[in-house]
Symmetry: C2
Subunit: 269 residues, 2 copies
């Protein structure tokens, strides 16, 4: 158990949440609450555990919760939350997913997507260059959408999207092509061969019995293999990549590089 | 600003709330969070500021919030919350108001009323005896209902209920007479003459421009004058009572004597 010298919560404390299912593994409350303490802001983030089915009811409640300032939105709510936002950033609208919402004083919810920027900042901080590289991305959900758009903006040479549900991959590829007509974008299989950077943008790897997001036998030692899953830190994919001699990039830097942006977004400043 | 060495909040922290409007003045988060820290329980209470009009939407959201364990319910929600509870304690059903709700694992909300017990425990701790005394109670809302039933159970000789809205006073008196057929219960005016213990059970006194809950010129020095309002600590009523030479009893003991009961109710143990 970690303890922390916190500002005592009062009736004036602003409330932040993280919407997730499952939720026990999330790390954002610790990070955001440390930033609030460092910045001397009277705000606290608590877990809001809600199922996909029940999300609309909870969000209707958050609209009228006057002490609520915003929430991180994560698996499985990133895409479905779009429908509950009253307005969106251009980025979130293009991506078709949000990972943060903010409650305005009049109760309206504004959604943005900071995960793509956060993922790229994490790569850059580790010295992994995207420009000119062929990139393979597993997934077409909320996180994968945000990462795909951020990668496309950052000068990747080409981008392959592989997803179990083919229609979601087609949809993501169409939207990428509409926004980035000069970028080669294709639908991929489970085989990552021929790419420089491999990214798992699915939630596969969170649970011990999850299947692998791609065919790990086809990984080559020249590849950099990146995760969005944060818990466990070394997923089965990363363990396999390490065995194949690949450089690996953990899921945590994406969050660590985002939390300051998120705190600013929530007006924790 | 008070600081506190708190357990760091995580995705596994259980969330408690306090439902109120206004909310800035509430003191329960500080008290409950200290108890959670002392007991080593991973739970935190945060302010849930919601208007009377918006309460149904927020409660529908709390029904599906799996990390939520319960809330304190205070002004102006104590009576209206009854309709949103799936089951009630006998005490809360008799009183017609709740001041705590607990979320069961299946999402059902259970309501109880601990304020009457808390008020009496506060009187007892100050050595103020209720048995055999004539009592004047201003108010017929949630807190006043809870206090009236607790006073009736504690051997008061007689009980006078005075409320601006006469129909609410009539309703409370009828319910008291049904539960305590041998106790003299009457409707009163703004004049507290002829009573031993005077209780303000309304929220009048919270705001600087509130009118007084009763006619303070009729207070006599033999009377004990008690508040439920906690902020300001000395309300205009108590100041007037002090000037008349009365013994006064603050609003805070009612909460202080309740918080351990509330923590138990929320399973902070």
């Amino acid at each position: 158990m970690e303890t922390l010298l916190m500002r005592e919560l009062t009736g004036q404390t602003r409330v932040l949440g993280i919407l997730a299912d499952p939720i026990a593994q999330v790390k954002a409350p610790q990070l955001i609450n440390r930033i609030a303490a460092e910045r001397g802001v009277d705000a606290v983030m608590v877990p809001f555990h809600v199922s996909a089915e029940d999300l609309p009811k909870l969000v209707a409640g958050l609209h009228v919760l006057q002490s609520f300032d915003g929430a991180i939105v994560t698996v499985p709510h990133k895409t479905s939350m779009i429908a509950h936002c009253d307005h969106l950033s251009d980025r979130a609208a293009a991506v078709g997913a949000v990972n943060v919402i903010r409650r305005e004083a009049d109760g309206r919810l504004f959604g943005d997507a900071l995960d793509g920027i956060g993922f790229l900042a994490g790569l850059r901080a580790s010295g992994i260059e995207v420009a000119g590289r062929e990139i393979y991305l597993a997934g077409a959900g909320g996180a994968a959408n945000a990462i795909a758009f951020a990668l496309a903006e950052s000068g990747a040479r080409g981008l392959t999207i592989a997803n179990r549900t083919r229609s979601k991959a087609n949809d993501l590829v169409s939207r990428l092509m509409a926004h980035f007509p000069l970028l080669p974008v294709r639908i991929g299989t489970r085989d990552p061969s021929g790419h420089d950077i491999i990214v798992n943008g699915t939630s596969l790897g969170m649970k011990p019995d999850d299947s692998l997001p791609l065919d790990v036998e086809k990984l080559a030692s020249s590849m950099v293999v990146c995760e969005v899953v944060m818990e466990p830190e070394e997923t089965a994919l990363l363990a396999a990549a390490r065995r194949q001699g690949c450089r690996i990039h953990l899921g945590t830097p994406m969050l660590m590089n985002q939390v300051e942006l998120m705190a600013d977004f929530f007006r924790v400043r």
